[in-house]
C-alpha cells in the first residue's frame, strides 16, 4: 500500500513540479523509463513470490537505469545508438513480459 502511494506521489510530484530535464539527458529518458518499469515489475513479482528484498529492489532499479543509459550513450558515441537501444528494449521487454505473466498467474491463478 505504502509502495503504491509512493508511486502515485511521485507521479503527482512530477506533474505538479514540472521539473525540466537537461537537454543532454533527454535521449536517455525513454530507455530509463523502460528500465524502471522492469525494476518495478520485477519487484512486484518478487513480492507475490514472497521473496521481495528492499536492497535488491533499490539496487536493481538504480543499476538498470544507469546501465541502460550507459549502453545508449555508448551506442550514440559509436553511431549505433538506435540498434543498441533496440537491444536494451528487447531484453528489458522480455523480462517485463515474463514478470507480468508471473504476476498474472499469481492474481488470476491462470
Amino acid at each position: 500500500m505504502i509502495a503504491f502511494l509512493a508511486l502515485v506521489a511521485g507521479v503527482v510530484a512530477g506533474l505538479l513540479l514540472e521539473p525540466t530535464v537537461p537537454l543532454a539527458l533527454q535521449p536517455y529518458l525513454p530507455i530509463a523509463v523502460v528500465a524502471a518499469l522492469d525494476a518495478v515489475f520485477g519487484g512486484v513479482r518478487a513480492k507475490l513470490d514472497g521473496v521481495f528484498d528492499d536492497k535488491q529492489f533499490v539496487v536493481s532499479f538504480v543499476s538498470n537505469v544507469l546501465v541502460a543509459a550507459f549502453i545508449v550513450y555508448l551506442g550514440d558515441q559509436l553511431g549505433v545508438g538506435g540498434q543498441l537501444s533496440t537491444g536494451v528494449v528487447v531484453v528489458l521487454g522480455v523480462r517485463i513480459f515474463g514478470n507480468v505473466a508471473a504476476i498474472r498467474r499469481h492474481i488470476f491463478r491462470a
Binding site: A13, G14, V51
Partner: protein
Amino acid sequence: MTRARGEPWLAPDFLLELFRNPLDPGYADAAAARAERGPKPRWRRTGALVLRTLTLVLVGLLLAVAYREAVAAEPERSRAHAGLVDEVKTGQQRTDDLQQRTEDLRNQVTAAQQAALGGSAEELARVREQQAAAGLAAVSGPGTVVRLSDAPAPIDPATGRPSTAEVNRVLDVDLQAVVNGLWASGAEAIAVNGQRLTSTTTIRVAGNAILVDFRPVTSPYEVSAIGPDDLERTFRRTAASASLADLANRYGLGYSTRTETSLTLPAAPGPSLRYAHPVGGTK
C-alpha cells in the same frame, strides 16, 4: 547477484534462461540468505522501507517527467516543420518580388533607350527585335505546347494508398531533349513552365527537383515554343518525340503536344555580362 560456486560466468543458454526465468536471481539469493540468518534487525528494516519508498517516488517522477517530455516534444516537431515552410514561402515571395522589380527596371531601361535613341523608329525596332530574339523581351505568336508529367504514383498493394517511394519521374535530360527538339524544329522562343530560355539558361537536376535557370519547376512541365505553323508536326517527327512517346508507353509518363494559335512567353531575367564585352562596340 551471487552465484553458486563453479557455475560458469555466463551460462551457454543465457538467452534461454532470460526467457524462462525473467526474475532477477538476486531476489532468490536474498530470500535464501534471510532464511539462513533469520530476519534483519529492526533499524535495517526501517531503513530499507524508506529506501524502497524513495525509489518508488523516483520511479513515479521518472514516469511523469517522461510523459511530459513526450507531450512537449510533439508540438515542437510540428513547429519546426511550420517554421521551415514559412521560410520557404518567404524565400519564394522574395524571389517573386525581385522578379517583379526586374520587370519594372527593364521597362525603365526600354523607356530610357527609347529616349536615348531620340525616337528613331528604325533603331528602336532593331533593338526590340534583338531583345526578343535573345529572350530579354516578352514575345507572342503561334506555337506549340509540349506537356510532360511524372507517372502517377503506383498503388501500394499493402496499404492501398499511392506509394511515395517509386515514382517514374521526368528527368532533366527529357526536358533537354524536348527543348533541343523544339529548337531543331524551328522554334524561335521557348519557355519551360513560364521560365523563358536564353543562350545561358541551364536545365539541370538538383536532388529531386529540376532547375530551369536556377528556378525549380515541377511536374507537369509545359514547354511552350513559338515557331512556324507546322512546328508540332515537325517536332512529332524528331527523335526526341519518339523517345518520349516510348517512355510514356513503357513507364507511364504523361506526354502530349498541342498547337496554340497565340502564345505569350515572358522575358527572361537578363544575364549581366561581367567578363564578356561586345566586339566592335562604341565603348
